[in-house]
Symmetry: D2
Subunit: 339 residues, 4 copies
């Protein structure tokens, strides 16, 4: 992810240490200065996100990275960045919660990432990698989408992905990312008559209404960026919906289920926001039943149920606290649902 | 609300100023010391919520109050308090967002309050007053429920309620609130062999799983506390679902609609978490159509749709940025839905 | 010291833990709430001193306690309190510095305490205890003097005194401290036409000059509070000047020196500010030579030299880093100076 | 000063705004990034000095700039930097104190700069410019001396110098500053067997004593860097000692006095630490009387008195609160002292 951020044109990283994502700042602390870019360990996560806010306002590709409790400290700043219509990247390598919890993997921050952990009607683009290859590729994609829609992007990974070693294709000379022009940035007048102002304060209620309507239009346009991955879905009698590391477990479970004669398919949301509701609805209706697997008490399952809207049954299987279910256990649940 | 907090046995208030809720700390700064209780203006909202955490751990009835951006700063602390299974009260007098936004009323923080603005699988009890009488009564109720379930409670009000003047019955001598015994509190050994420890850190994943299962059981038990208010629902051909100040507008709109021959009814969730899903499902199915009205781009509407689960159509009407729709406008929307 | 603070009428304690003074907040955290007084562990030392500032402005007897690094964080706040002419008590149980240093005893913060560690022309009353009895008595005295002169008072102790156990007379029922009326306090109008304002901001330079002249007049008046202790000074051929724990070592050294035929005397400043310059000058001139002993590289020695002003030789003997010289070593130095 | 910092090889600037020094960060915020160097507005002065600490540990030429209250917030960090034996540059453009005071010029922070505003036995090299030329030249000199002695350097200016416009010679292509090698820096192993550690924590008292003795030896060696400026001192019957803007006033006053037949001379300390004690003693003794002029209640006067040590009379003339005495007024004081 650190190398992907560099390849993706990250100009500035601001962060504060927390397990299980310390490898990201560790690598960037060495690699960013070598390239004349900024790495800064801030005083706290509150400081980090506000430095991201400032650098993003100045037109920089700015990012921070943390894990669950640290990301919670960023909720005010994230809402400010969204309100000010600025692009940036926030990485959350989720650990078990709530509270300090543990440093083991979890998917308990889906609601925070996708429903607005901060205040007000805003959204981040949320990307969920499931292997090291995507961990490398997604920072660049996240910066690109964030710039396109002038909104924060989030990568929602977990402690397994944060510690995983596996082969990935990393180009020797990654293509140089060329951010779009940012005429709104507070990077000096550049010959204009007036200076740019970046702000999230809109005192007049009618102006704030219009501002919110603009944001909502952006979120509508953003729907075209929805991404998902489907496997064994053509003939599925049950479709499993899972993201990130849970999707890897679910894919193995689908294969096991097919060995046992149950035609299980998988839909893996790659973008959690915008959510691939239409694809899930179609595949789900065709299969006739849906099982959502998460490392939580059930968060994404709500978006799946909203997508299905009562058309077919939606079951849930989850595990919490950093315990990973085995493919066998997930397979048994799949079989149980069908029979 | 300030007087209600005092009557409700609030021992300690920690907060930081923000409009439109400054009347709460202003009054408490005078009234709490007079009663030998603690009022403290903290360095920041981050400090406030952590002081609430500490006081709650020591068995005190502790509260803080803020408005949207300030509440976002409390998300880490709130998750810690939930993880540590501590009772407390957080008041959010919502203003228009995202970001600094404005100081006008809004309901844009429903997701944050009800879906977990902080990290991890946790919930607060969320109460939504709609008049000054409930503003007075809810702090006591919130403390009582928080103590019963050892979880944070939140009162989700808005800028209109924060500024509203209207008659309310306030007892001359409010009944003295008697909190339950708190044998878990870190208030000294009190003759026990070992000291109590309050923490949200559970390093072992299997212990953290068990801890999370306990939390989920608590959230199940909590469902019995669901509260709602229904008006004109017996013969309704359309049911409006709204909370807080939007419900007052909606009630006026229902009356206007009935004058125009449309039998509109209202269901007002009083507890937003636990959510009155069953009542809404029953009333909604009976009426045949549902309209959700919120001062947001549509947040509670997801919980209504999850409750209805496709059984009948669910429409949404919202306004953002601190602009209040008139009862006439809501009435027109009601009529439009039916015809 | 904690018991002395209670007996001295301390209304509020704000602090943050640091060795070697943790016994003070530990005891007060239990004892203050029992008496309906405030104990609060703040977010940081910066927060602590600003809470002291606020409580002092409201007329409370407010204190904080820390050790060297923590006290350095209070320098801005202390200057504000001095500028706003407010009474308060700051305790510094000095440890070895600079930086984190160690937790061993030191007297390296004399300059900070007496010359103005914060910015601007201000002074604190600085008291230096040398045994547990004075540790108990000085908080009350400090509050009394601070109230009288409306200035911060500091108790400058060290890590030995912070850990020392020895008999002290503590009255069963200490006399109730009755602070003077504080008509300037921001405790409400109390029938006056206008509210009090407490501030350290004086924008107009001529007003700020007058304000500073007032402060200087206060520091002049304060000179009458100078306190010192003299032993064996009548016939001394050399006078040792030392304060705090160094004075105990020095007293033993004087006795040893007299056994060896050197008539050594001791002057122990009890108030470091105001400094007992006149007493030291008189005793020093009479003896003909002076030796200053400090647990530092030589800080108070400057005030002794300013007092003596070249009249007789002033030597210095110091130790740093938490190492205490033995009475033998100090005695040898005394003898060496005379012969 | 900003241009001088760039010419002096400043790699990183960290700061927080405060009048009257905002021109420094304003210019550096534009000029540093253009050169691939770091400018960062931190969350607070506490954050600023700790970022300076970190960057200095990594071998960078790091600086911060502030005014009196902001500098007080840096006292803990400064003591850490001194304890860790790191070079850095702190600029204080003094304003009237204590507390918030005003934004007018002052010299009230001499004690803080020269006697150790932070805790423990440490010193900064302190340079006092008196015109724009020195404002330009001193950052480079400060970095050079700081690197040589591995200690913090401070430039102690004032609000007049902060706002003054006058001609200065600034080379078109300033000589490139080449800092010495820093084999102690935490910039990677660079082929060594072990990593460098930078710390100010020395738990063992005997080690901390040795560490302090090393520091004191450094301060002894540093005495060779003492710098002063003397005018009309050969035949002076009274010598005025003043630094910074007060020295400019004093020089004019000396000229006026000579017009009136009083042979006044001037000694201007350029380094406040190390202090030109020997020069002042010699010139003072020769002249027979000394007058110290400061924009304070009298702080440097103590160092002058310690230098003179009673040999000749030392008088003081000061003004406080941002009011500048006129050369006429100073001249009158000179004349009064002589007659």
């Amino acid at each position: 992810m650190a190398l992907g951020a560099i390849a993706g044109g990250c100009d500035c990283f601001f962060g504060y240490p927390i397990t299980p994502q310390n490898e990201v700042p560790e690598i960037l602390s060495v690699q960013m200065p070598r390239r004349g870019r900024v790495f800064l360990q801030a005083e706290s996560e509150v400081a980090s996100i506000n430095m991201v806010y400032g650098a993003a306002a100045a037109g920089m590709r700015a990012m921070t990275s943390s894990s669950s409790p640290g990301v919670s400290l960023m909720m005010e700043g994230l809402s400010y960045i969204a309100g000010a219509q600025l692009p940036c990247l926030v990485v959350n390598v989720m650990r078990g919660g709530p509270g300090l919890g543990s440093i083991t993997p979890s998917q308990g921050d889906y609601f925070q990432a996708c429903k607005g952990g901060g205040h007000g009607d805003y959204h981040c683009i949320v990307l969920a990698p499931w292997n090291v290859q995507e961990m490398y590729e997604m920072p660049g994609l996240a910066f690109e989408l964030a710039d396109r829609y002038r909104c924060p992007a989030m990568i929602l990974a977990d402690g397994v992905l944060g510690a995983m070693m596996e082969p990935a294709r990393i180009p020797d000379e990654p293509p140089v990312a060329t951010p779009p022009p940012k005429p709104w940035a507070t990077s000096g007048r550049n010959g204009r008559a007036t200076q740019n102002v970046v702000n999230s304060l809109v005192i007049d209620p009618y102006e704030l209404r219009d501002h919110n309507r603009d944001l909502q239009k952006t979120y509508q346009r953003m729907q075209s960026e929805v991404r998902h991955d489907a496997r064994f879905d053509d003939d599925a009698e049950i479709v499993v919906v899972a993201y990130g590391i849970a999707a890897r477990l679910a894919l193995s479970a689908c294969k096991l289920a097919r060995e046992r004669g149950v035609r299980a398919g998988l839909v893996r949301p790659i973008t959690l926001y915008p959510f691939p509701a239409q694809a899930i609805r179609e595949v789900g209706k065709q299969a006739g039943r849906v099982l959502v697997v998460e490392l939580s008490s059930g968060q994404m399952v709500e978006d799946v149920r909203l997508a299905i809207d009562g058309a077919v049954p939606v079951a849930f299987y989850g595990e919490m606290g950093g315990v990973l279910p085995s493919p066998e256990e997930v397979c048994e649940q799949i079989v149980r649902e069908v029979r």
